[in-house]
Amino acid sequence: MKTFMTALLTSVAMTTASTGFAAESYPTQPIRLIVPFGAGGGTDGLARAIQLSVNNNNLLPEPIVVVNAPGAGGAVGTRQLLASDPDGYTILQIHQEMFAASAIERVDYTPEDFEPIIQVSEACMFVAVKEDSPYTNLDAMISDIKENPGDFRQADDIGGATHFPSVQLMNAAGAQWPIVPVGATSARFTSLQGGFTQLALLSPLWLERAAGQIKPLAVLGDERYDFAPDVPTAKEQGYDVTACLNRRYWAPSGTPQEHIDVLADTIEAAANSEEVQNYLSESGEVLKIVRGEELRDLIDGEYTSFVEVADIVKGSLSN
């Protein structure tokens, strides 16, 4: 209740402080923001924080309305974007789960069929083993896997966004290990604790949440975590693999560029507000704004790296 009041007061204060909005022809009606996952998840959390910031700070003359359309690993909601008019009134927020579904050809669309608006955040995963595991770095773990293949399993989500970097890690290591389909990060953590699996990619938030129960071997990002400067990146250890969930906003292909620009400006302003900053730091994610040509290039590069290992992902059955 207290937090709610604080948020309310802050937003009132910010509304009063914000400069007047110059009226434009777009938007003239509410903008529907599709969240292709259920209420309560990480995608839903950021979308609602952005929505709150846009609406409370009068960043747009019309409100943003969040609609949950969960199902099929984000495909149900993504299809709704694909089917909607490119008029700037329907947008979607999703991370690389979209690329994953396309790369293994579970869906008939690709990132090319959509217009990226802006990337807001980045959450780089880390390689986690159980606290009492004998390994202290990737080299030790991988040489042990090579000596004793068959004793080692990874908890992950088959065909999901973290399965692809997992395969990239296998390729970089020149080793193979079975993936046990357990699902989301909380389930991976439980599986690790129960001793049913030995390795999992976890989101940064778990480093703190599961402190004392897991051991981080490597950060799968370009840089070390600010809050855990002792954990080296995989790249530093000689494995050029990154696994970051990048939360991005998308519009249907053919949406007018000026609408894309208005949306990108609005979402960027919202992302820099206190509400969203607080949300991101509580969720262990970092603000990372990427727009325009740079964003398109980033997406093309990521998607290509997914497609490159898609055959292995599709074929990686048990033992």
Binding site: G40, G71, V76, I158, P178, S186, F196
Partner: protein
């Protein structure tokens, strides 16, 4: 722990529980609007509430909606919630013969006692269970779902083959979608909308509610006739209570036990408890014609099961139902660690949920005590006024799952299937149970095969899976045996 109770029973704590319980009862009593839906809608609103306030609000809604389900089950023969299916069997006939207040009163008392018993178990055994929690791997969970699936055989006594047929159909409809082990699509026949399979809510609404609306539309309106002898019947009678005292205890134990099994929950609990009560009763032939024992068995067990399902949620992080899945989401959203370590890392939160259950049970009893005589009058509202809004609520419910028309079409299809099954005397319970449990069994079995290098042997060498496998074999053999001996008796 005491701190958690003080917080829940503080003024603001009681306020949240009261809001949650009343909203839950209202929503639960409307077929089409489910507890799951209102809890999902409330979730974003709780975003800026304190985690503990949010959780007790949602838990109170969960308990309220389970109780609310008995209202429409009793007055309209339509389960307002899934777990009230068994309540329709005796609640409706009793209400129909002019005792709606007594039927509702029995259901409310049974719900309260069942909930309190399960709360006691939750309080005393949850920490113990949580230390065992991490040892529950894929094979353990698989073996538990097998136990629940064999219960289908037990509850289908008398119409054994029909029960198996319904279960097979339920399992079949659960198959399309994303294959859990390869991530690829299966049995979607090129229909893009099917790539998430069939959602539970449209299936349930179609099969159990719209199907009943179709059956009702074809029958004569008998409501107004009974009005004469309705007036001042006793709501809670001491005689009913005394006659059912062992039934209360037995049904609560069964309900709690089944509720604790992860992924099973209140519906199966009430079905099992009803079958057992019928087996124990001296007047088992009266079951299904409006006897107090049937109502008590179903309602004690489903509320006990509802509370019991919080045990695997809190200790294992395993959602036992649609609602507990959303509660799990709420915990994740509030950056709590649902699962084995909740008691270690956030003991305050775990105890707040437990205290919230106690508070919600008490408030539910108080609210229903005063509301029951008023609600009972609804029995005499013409069906023509009730059915159209129910149809509308069902359509809203199905559409709201993912905001697409496909789910509405699917619901309509399942309504026809439910109508045909009901006409053909094929029970709907086994269909729903199999529909929910089959994917869970499959995922865990196949995960287990990856974990144990394609070996089935750990199912027999690990103690917990072995225990459950033995139970399920005994249940299955007993069910088949009693079916055979019954058939023989009839022949002789």
């Amino acid at each position: 722990m005491i701190g958690a109770y003080l917080e829940v029973f503080s003024l603001s704590g009681v306020m949240w529980v009261l809001i949650g319980t009343v909203v839950g009862i209202l929503i639960g009593s409307i077929p089409g609007l489910s507890g799951a839906m209102v809890i999902a809608l409330t979730l974003p609103m709780t975003y800026y509430m304190q985690a503990t306030d949010a959780l007790i609000l949602l838990v109170a809604m969960y308990i309220g909606s389970t109780t609310g389900g008995l209202i429409s089950a009793t007055l309209m023969r339509m389960p307002g919630t899934e777990s009230a299916i068994m309540t329709t069997l005796d609640g409706f006939p009793m209400a129909q013969r002019g005792e709606p207040a007594r039927a509702l009163g029995l259901g409310v008392i049974a719900s309260f006692l069942g909930g309190m018993f399960a709360w006691l178990v939750l309080t005393t055994l949850s920490p113990l269970l949580s230390t065992l929690a991490v040892r529950f791997g894929p094979y353990e969970i698989f073996a538990m779902t097998v136990v629940a699936l064999t219960l289908i055989a037990a509850i289908s006594k008398g119409s054994f083959l029909n029960g198996l047929l319904a279960a097979a159909l339920g399992a079949l409809f659960a198959l399309p979608g994303i294959d859990p082990i390869s991530g690829s699509l299966r049995l979607t026949f090129g229909i893009a909308e099917l790539d998430n399979g069939f959602n539970l809510l449209p299936v349930m609404l179609g099969l159990l509610v719209l199907g009943q609306v179709m059956l009702d539309s074809g029958t004569k309106n008998e409501r107004a006739v009974q009005k004469a002898n309705s007036s001042n019947k006793v709501t809670f009678s001491a005689k009913d209570f005394k006659e059912n005292r062992w039934n209360f205890v037995r049904s609560s134990v069964i309900g709690t036990w089944i509720g604790i099994l992860p992924g099973i929950g209140g519906t199966t609990a009430s079905i099992a408890s009803y079958s057992v009560a019928k087996g124990f009763s001296k007047n088992s032939s009266k079951f299904g014609s409006g006897c107090s024992e049937g109502i008590v068995a179903a309602e004690s067990a489903n509320n006990a099961g509802t509370v019991g399902s919080l045990v695997p949620l809190i200790t294992l992080g395993i959602p036992g139902s649609v609602v507990t899945a959303i509660l799990l989401g709420a915990m994740v959203m509030h950056n709590l660690n649902p699962g084995p370590l909740l008691f270690v890392q956030n003991p305050g939160v775990a105890y707040t949920i437990i205290a919230g259950v106690l508070s919600a049970n008490i408030i539910m009893l108080v609210v229903m005590w005063f509301a029951t005589p008023l609600i009972a009058r609804m029995m005499y509202v013409d069906k023509a006024w009730l059915l159209p809004p129910i149809i509308i609520f069902c359509f809203i419910g199905a559409y709201s799952v993912s905001g697409r028309f496909f789910d509405v079409i699917a619901m309509s299809g399942f309504a026809c299937l439910g109508y045909i099954m009901a006409r053909a005397k094929v029970p709907l319970g086994p269909f729903i149970i199999a529909f929910i449990l089959t994917p869970m069994a499959e995922e865990n079995l196949r995960s287990g095969l990856v974990v144990y290098g394609s070996s089935y042997l750990p199912l027999l060498t690990r103690p917990i899976p072995l225990f459950f496998i033995v139970i399920s074999i005994v249940t299955a053999v007993w069910a088949v045996w009693s079916e055979i001996s019954q058939t023989r008796k009839i022949k002789l």
